[in-house]
């Protein structure tokens, strides 16, 4: 019997001004990355509520990546600085709870960095695939 190849489910939140445009540029340049990545457009990385990320995990996402403008380049001047703190604290907490750190990531991708977007996604999917299915967050409250 052939085992079905494991395909991770990846949610990518991209800010409208830099990273979403970077993802579009990756498309324009036909740079491949796995279809496991599904992008959700937000105005700014600072719009991403930790609850969205937790919700994605809880609904079965294996990895969540948040992309925004590089620090200093935020369309709204300071949004990504808040993102940086919020996500640093959230991810550190998930790590503390024993959730694999490779499942979460923040990456700054500019509108010109189509190649970086594709490379980041390839790398992230690979890292998450290596971990396998995301069970821990779901099992955190269910000791078997």
């Amino acid at each position: 019997m052939q085992v079905k190849e494991y395909k991770p489910l990846i949610v990518a939140f991209c800010c409208n001004w830099c990273s979403y445009a970077g993802a579009d540029l990756a498309g324009n340049n036909r740079l491949n990355y796995p279809a496991d990545v599904k992008i959700i457009r937000v105005p700014c990385s600072c719009r991403v509520n930790p609850m969205f990320i937790l919700r994605a995990f809880q609904r079965g996402a294996d990895g969540v990546i948040l992309c925004g403008c590089h620090p200093g380049d935020c369309h709204y001047t300071s949004g990504n600085y808040y993102t940086r703190r919020r996500m640093a604290m959230l991810f550190s907490m998930l790590d503390y709870l024993g959730i694999e750190r490779e499942r979460t990531r923040v990456e700054w991708v500019s509108a010109a960095e189509g190649a970086k977007f594709a490379a980041t996604m390839n790398e992230f999917v690979e890292a998450v695939s290596a971990l396998g299915e995301n069970k821990r967050l779901e099992d955190l409250r269910c000791k078997r």
Binding site: L9, V11, N16, Y20, A21, A23, D24, A26, G27, N28, R30, L31, N32, Y33, A35, K38, I39, I40, R41, V42, P43, C44, C46, R47, V48, N49, P50, M51, F52, R55, A56, R59, G60, A61, H75, Y76, T77, S78, G79, Y82, R86, A118
Partner: protein, 664 residues
Amino acid sequence: MQRIGVFVCWCGSNIAGTVDVKAVAEALKSEPGVVYSTDYQYMCSQAGQDLIVQAVKDNNLTGLVICSCSPRMHEATFRKTAATAGLNPYMVEIANIREQCSWVHKEMPIGTEKAIILGKAAVAKVNLNTPLTPGESPVTKRALVIGGGIAGIQTALDIADAGFPVDIVETKPTIGGKMAQLDKTFPTLDCAACILTPKMVDVAQHEKIRIFSYSEVAEVKGFVGNFDVTIKKKARFVDETKCTGCGDCVDKCPMKKNPNEFNMGMDNRPAIYIPFAQAVPKVATIDAGACTMLKKGKCGLCSKVCGAGAIDYTQKDEFISEKYGAIVVATGFNVISMDKFDEYAYNQSKDVITSLEFERLTNAAGPTAGKLLRPSDGKHPHKIVFVQCVGSRCENCAEKGKEYCSKICCMYTAKHAMLTRDKYPDTDVTVFYIDVRTPGKNFDEFYRRAVEEFGVKYVKGMVGKIVPEGEVLKVQASDLINNKQMHIDADLVVLAAAIEPDKSARPLATMLTASMDTNDFFTEAHPKLRPVESPTAGVFLSGACQGPKDIPETVSQAGAAASKVIGLLCKDKLLGNPCIAGSNELMCNGCSSCERVCPYGAITYLDKEFRMPDRTTKIRRVASVNPAVCQGCGACTVACPSGAMDLRGFANDQIMAEVDAICK
């Protein structure tokens, strides 16, 4: 329940080559709310758009999902299509199945599967979309310019020439700013007064311009198009409407020994004074700290000699309130204090001066009537050393100097050196430099002329120590090219002191909720594309308050700021972006978290009365978002612990629905 139509675009083979568009249209048909689903070769073509309009009419659609190229490409197009079909333009969502699907994946089954998921997410979102209408706000057709230097003057003139009234607020008794203190201007060497004073007169005579001199901005409220500003007119103890500027009072005043700010303290002025002959307004001002009448009630001489009866010792600070549609900041710069650089002996010798002091020494209206004489003994200096980059480009001396390059020093030093050699060929002039930075039209040519035609000695190296000894200043410096240490007995040393934003800028920025960098220069909305706008809507930047600038740059930025202001004031109403934050007052805690993260100062708080379930009332502090100021970043929505703050168009439940659709 929404009635959603799904429209899958082939984009020729761009999408259809990797995505089975028919399968996508078919799959999305069974999603909740979807009542119509189809595909077409080019959705963005006129035929494609007509197809959408027809489908809306035939099926009474309330929301549209377009599976096509990136929303950055055609979102605006399809919103217009929706409007044509009689829908609210914000009832459209795009599933990006080209750039983020067909173009990055190769295999049809994989592309199709992903396109369906992206389509489902868009459907899930549209289900929760609500019609949005951009807010409108009126525009007060009057501009405020803060600062009356060349930047403020130029901006005010340009705005006023376009027909809008402008007020200039200047903290000094006269407009003119730093440029009025300069002698000649590089690289053309025209006299600063000759080109500036006519502009000052234009300002004074312009029927659309009012000058509030000796005044400060005390309070700013409101937002773009609707600022409420309180201006504090400081008591000058002279009735501006009566004073003719004849100067009789100035001549008679017995309190003559007060440092003359206009001449950088190198000579004295009386307690009642007019800063300089071409001052605008040409009105006397009494220095309350120096006047014996005001301090002790004795004297009153100026009042006695004033034929116009303009002296008023009882004058009080006056507060004026005015409405403005736009505010231009033009607060300019100052040279930094040389106190912390006493290796250059600025505090030990009068003959060590800053470049701005040198300007006054060479200016015909200056303390020496334009003759270059040493401040200590009035002798003509025969050996002059110029030191560049004093306090500029300092890495770790934040309390001493500045990390940035002050930009103008290379050129004015070349100018000073050249003019000195031109007027006094017997004077030996040495300039110590780290780098000579002359990017600008005719700038490097100018510097080369100083060296090649005027014989100014440029030495690559830095002065390490200056020791006053007797009549001379012993200058010890390095000459890096010749690898030697130099010792010069100079008569005069001129320090190219770094420049810094005026001290009034920081409190002003707070009032305006305009952001600043760590050096207290105002931040622009975008460093390349919006260089004369502050991120705060309706606040514009002119001149050196935004960064070091020379006169040509300042004037062009002043004009650019004016054109932005004119563009704003031309509008009768401002249409906002409807995708903005809004607070649910029933859930708001009034905790101020959202206010603290808002980059635009769009959030204020109101005390609001609420009816409680037990029929009592309760007054609570709740957040209120100003729709004209909010730009819709969403930072507040995450800072809000109770979830009261949400973002229209990207609401919590909408994004959550997208997440759910993708992760299903």
